[in-house]
């Protein structure tokens, strides 16, 4: 069989991979790559440096990926809670592995809300190798990058944390300052 024929045939086979499965596959590979970098850094530089670097990396990537997501969907920076929630939810559903993550996010209508994480892939992983007390959560950096791309200043407050023995993480999201409405 000629190579081009073979390529066409395999592309045909690939069409049978559901889009969700393909997304999950690439997302898992990305986070596997991330955890390998993290642990290599821990081995070479210790937890303090690795944790600090993890936050910096997550923030830089978060900003870039949110810009890309807004561009590909032709979305503007959010001007209200609904648009903010939509973008955060889109990013969660697109970039995070769904198999290892269980969350919900609620806004209360006054610029405040709470993110509830019942299952977290990072916590599951660090717990499994008994380093959960050493690990500092990188998700704050990732979301900070998302907010930067949205042009928003968002304050987060960790109320409950799986790492501290709670049954879920609860992160209060406050002070989402949207640009003023154009009343001209």
């Amino acid at each position: 069989m000629e190579h081009q024929q073979l390529k066409n045939m395999t592309r045909g086979i690939q069409k049978n991979i559901p889009i969700d499965k393909l997304r999950e596959l690439v997302a898992k590979s990305r986070w596997t790559c991330d955890s390998n970098w993290m642990m290599a850094m821990v081995m070479n530089a210790g937890w303090n440096v690795a944790n600090k670097m993890n936050l910096q990396v997550a923030q830089s990537v978060g900003k870039v990926e949110m810009h890309r997501l807004m561009k590909i969907l032709n979305l503007d920076k959010p001007k209200n809670e609904n648009e903010f929630m939509t973008l955060v939810s889109l990013a969660m559903e697109t970039f995070i592995t769904q198999d290892y993550f269980d969350y919900e996010f609620k806004m209360n209508g006054s610029g405040k809300g709470v993110g509830i994480i019942k299952q977290c892939y990072a916590y599951t992983k660090v717990k499994s190798i008994n380093v959960d007390k050493d690990y500092e959560c990188g998700c704050f950096g990732l979301r900070h990058g998302w907010y930067q791309a949205m042009g928003l200043h968002v304050k987060e407050n960790l109320v409950k944390c799986l790492k501290n023995g709670a049954d879920q993480c609860e992160i209060e999201v406050a002070a989402v300052a949207f640009p003023p409405k154009d009343i001209s």
């Binding site: 390529k7 395999t10 086979i13 790559c33 970098w37 290599a40 070479n44 990537v61 870039v64």
Partner: protein, 171 residues
């Protein structure tokens, strides 16, 4: 809100996912470089690639329902699928199968090299791109030889990058 998420095509989604992944990887590389310099960063980068690629290729095998690869045709089919899933158009590579047991790959430009140039370390960067492929093959238990054998970056020394993989399938 002008475009519905569900209207994204599979390829659009795959492209953004792969781009974000490579950006994520590059950010680790950059931060590691700032902390430790290029020698140690090369070492850590390659260790991360080896570990990641071994897991990655097994996941792809499972996702496409591939079984043990016994013939070159089976390998070609699986390799095409793996490349389709795990790479993006922005990587700008091409490869051909000119003969039985032979695969030639070529890059006229390379996103990793461009990144290293931007960081000012292209002359000391040790290629991680081909290591990913090599690790796939090793994980799959496929015997191969590759030429040229490189530790640095051919794009930097030659202006373009070329690899030839030779396999040893009976059929």
């Amino acid at each position: 809100m002008t475009k519905d998420f569900n209207s994204l095509s599979k390829n659009e989604l795959k492209e953004i996912m792969n781009k974000n992944w490579m950006t994520h990887d590059a950010m680790w590389f950059y931060n590691c470089l700032q902390e430790f310099g290029i020698e140690k960063t090369n070492k850590i980068n390659k260790a991360a690639i080896r570990n990641m690629a071994a897991i990655e290729i097994k996941r792809i095998q499972k996702a496409v329902g591939a079984t043990q690869i016994n013939t070159f045709d089976e390998f070609k089919s699986f390799f095409d699928q793996a490349m389709e899933i795990a790479t993006g158009k922005f990587m700008k590579y091409k490869y051909i199968i000119p003969a039985h047991n032979l695969l030639q790959g070529q890059w006229d430009s390379c996103f990793a090299y461009e990144g290293m140039k931007a960081l000012g370390v292209a002359d000391r960067y040790e290629c991680g791109i081909m290591l990913r492929i090599d690790t796939w093959l090793e994980t799959l238990g496929i015997k191969f030889e590759v030429e040229p054998k490189v530790t640095g970056c051919i794009m930097h020394t030659n202006g373009k990058c070329f690899f030839e993989y030779r396999f040893f399938f009976d059929k």
